[in-house]
Symmetry: C2
Subunit: 292 residues, 2 copies
Amino acid sequence: MSSSLGNGDTPRFDPHFTENVINAIGPKTTPRTRQVMSSLIRHVHDFARENEITVDEWMQGVQLLNWAGKMSDDKRNEGQLVCDVIGLESLVDEITFKLAAEAGDTATASAILGPFFRHDAPELANESTIVHGVDDGEVTYMHGCVRDVKTGKPVPNATIDVWQASTNGLYEQQDPDQVDCNLRGKFRSDANGRYAFYCLRPTPYPVPNDGPAGKILELLDRHPMRPAHIHLIVIRDGYKPVTTQIFDRIDPYLKNDSVFAVKESLIVDFVPLKGNPKATIELEYNIGLVPN
Amino acid sequence: MSSSLGNGDTPRFDPHFTENVINAIGPKTTPRTRQVMSSLIRHVHDFARENEITVDEWMQGVQLLNWAGKMSDDKRNEGQLVCDVIGLESLVDEITFKLAAEAGDTATASAILGPFFRHDAPELANESTIVHGVDDGEVTYMHGCVRDVKTGKPVPNATIDVWQASTNGLYEQQDPDQVDCNLRGKFRSDANGRYAFYCLRPTPYPVPNDGPAGKILELLDRHPMRPAHIHLIVIRDGYKPVTTQIFDRIDPYLKNDSVFAVKESLIVDFVPLKGNPKATIELEYNIGLVPN
């Protein structure tokens, strides 16, 4: 913690202010809330003092966060995107995964949910497609096996919830020209733990930059691009859920993802597919689930 | 800065992550933006690691901030109020005032603007009242002189913009039962630098607790009360503007203001007034302005 000392160790600002704010926390607060909020207050105050944040600068920040709230609805979470572009979602994901791993719960590496998940994706049969009305994409046959990481046995009846952006860089809820729930679907692993569907080989795209997250990227002279990826959530009763993203190894933005979500273990290889009239690319992706 | 080290000094989390996010800042960023945002990223990441913030906890924070943005409009700034209850507005006000003081610009002590200022308060004549339709208040004759702090001479034609809550604890924009712009007005100092008007002796009130700021107070087991105060902004061409609040010395919440805005120099004495049929209380409040 910085004490924001000036010359001769005289505090430039009221040295008791932060302790006074923390000490105002009452006795009925839970221990976790007390810990987290005391630390948050200390960091926010230290940040303000170390940088001598002025009223005008602070108010710019307030307006930016209010703007994020106003843009958010059930199809878009701009507050989340603001966190994403400063790496916070990816970091709390790493923390959460590490805590699970230390509790013996690790399996398929996790990754951030991102702001474009929808709870109401349609349930689809294996071997069907999530691609509708996209003429310029490379259709990919994605398939694999869901296994129990402890026994190695196939896990039937797991739900594989998948979503991806279209070739124009937009998720369906961002794009009035796509049919509702395009490039989304929920599949179930069969009796042998297998799932299979047709999707697009993902393409890189910019995060939406018409809001505060875009403003932050502009201020930081950063590009908004995300490397090509497919989102997955895998859920099965009796197992820990897995939220992940898988990235295309040949993508040019793997090293500078605008939301810092890439991990080596999440990079996969899309390979040419012959003899299937429905697809030119194949991706085998196997998923390990940890029992509760 | 904490490095969140575990046993044997092995970092529990990717030790390069924060530097990678900071190093993504591009060359065209201004030096001030680079400084402030690098520090913000470092503090936010350290906060997350030190407390091992989970995805669920982080998402609660995101939803709370989005909620603040949704509640905010041109009459209410909930993002500002969230900052206020953790002391941030008061702190950046102290910083800003200190920077002005070091530049030789100090005069009447400043205080936070608060979320209830309106730009469109009516211009009123001296000796008029801002109190309309309030039966249970103590009407106060507030008056004083605006002076140039360097010459000591009266400053005519300064605008004194004043606002206060009613006896029910509500500002007029929060209360459909008050007339528009009740308890607000802009006055001008006369040729002798004098201003005078009738207002209420202020009463303590709770900050609005129907939103995320109230939720934070509840989580922290804190009361929402603000000590009784009157807001003032004093503006005159050729002088630095002053934003301040003045507090009643007998208020029971002076020591535990829910937004931490009280300073000793802002505490004033309301005294009994005899012989004026319009008021029972008097407050003399003189204002010093610093030339540009």
